[in-house]
Subunit: 158 residues, 2 copies
DNA sequence: GGGTACTTACTCGGATACGCAGTGTCCGAGTCTATGTGG
DNA sequence: CCACATAGACTCGGACACTGCGTATCCGAGTAAGTACCC
């Protein structure tokens, strides 16, 4: 079970957009160059964020991407769901109702106990992701590297 | 991010082994037939469980698989780790230290804030998985379908 | 009748193909900007 | 000098190849049981 690498890219990029001026659009090319990432592929991920309503995109020269809303209202769950999709990691295929060991019809009504247990764990994961906003992460970065914002802002403006 | 289907197979199969007599080995072929699963592939998954110390295998006629220890001491985390591997879903590739936006050397010492946040969520997931044993799931099944154990035991003994 | 060697059939275990999602790349539609021209 | 038309360049957006992992399968090594045979 491996999460898409695009999630890491999207999170870092959203933070970079937060450091920059709020009313400034930054092109995918420049955002990609900041980390030496393949620009077209990052663009693909950013489009997912636009579809999810996290970013807004403006075409044409001087265009690019910007945050659709303040990062205080963007949770890690939002970004993960935008990139990875809303589907759950564990998907019960109801094998209990197949084969000679299949339970009678009446027993299929109660939910699969294994599915329930796995869902409970995954719900804890999602809850933790939803509890943390990008602003929280931003604050954490500020504490460990106070000069990061200014340095990022300068490079993006260059 | 999709979890391997083998996890579901492994969990159901471990419960089936728990229903059967503890000192009885059951072959992969019969375990697979119970749900009409491809026997060789299920065998592959069971081998992972053996390597993880959850099952023990005995070759030769009348051989097969059996639980290595009572299911009270087998958590969902054990099974998931055995099939999916110990690696974490989100893996920080440290893109912050690449490219022109790379932080100075001294700033690389503090851990990546994004990595920390993602680890926190994944830790909650793992904690919830480790908190539930197969015995808990078994008990849940008993409440919703009290006749399932006897039915499973009979079919496997047939 | 009892012990022994052998054959047999069945089991796990690892090595081998196939398919699909994630990864990476490319080109086209749209739009703003800058320039050159005419009034 | 100002307004306008035009050409240009830059942007996003979706459509097109490639790679790696998960899926599925097969065959060989090993073992216990059952059997036939000999003492």
């Amino acid at each position: 079970m491996r999460m898409s690498e695009g999630v890491e890219w999207a999170l870092h990029t959203c933070l970079n957009l937060a450091w920059a001026a709020a009313d400034q659009s930054i092109s995918a090319t420049r955002l990609a160059a900041f980390y030496e990432l393949p620009a077209p592929y990052l663009n693909k991920q950013l489009q997912s964020l636009v579809r999810a309503g996290i970013l807004t995109s403006t075409p044409g020269p001087r265009g690019g991407f910007r945050l659709a809303r303040p990062i205080e209202r963007v949770t890690l769950m939002d970004v993960v769901a935008a990139i990875e999709g809303p589907g759950e990691a564990f998907r019960c295929t109801e094998i209990r109702s197949r084969g000679p060991g299949a339970a009678p019809e009446s027993d299929n009504k109660p939910p699969c106990a294994i599915d329930q247990a796995m869902r409970r764990a995954e719900l804890a994961w999602r809850r933790e992701l939803a509890a943390q906003t990008l602003a929280d992460v931003q604050e954490q970065v500020l504490r460990s590297a106070p000069d990061a914002p200014e340095r990022t802002r300068r490079w993006l403006a260059d």
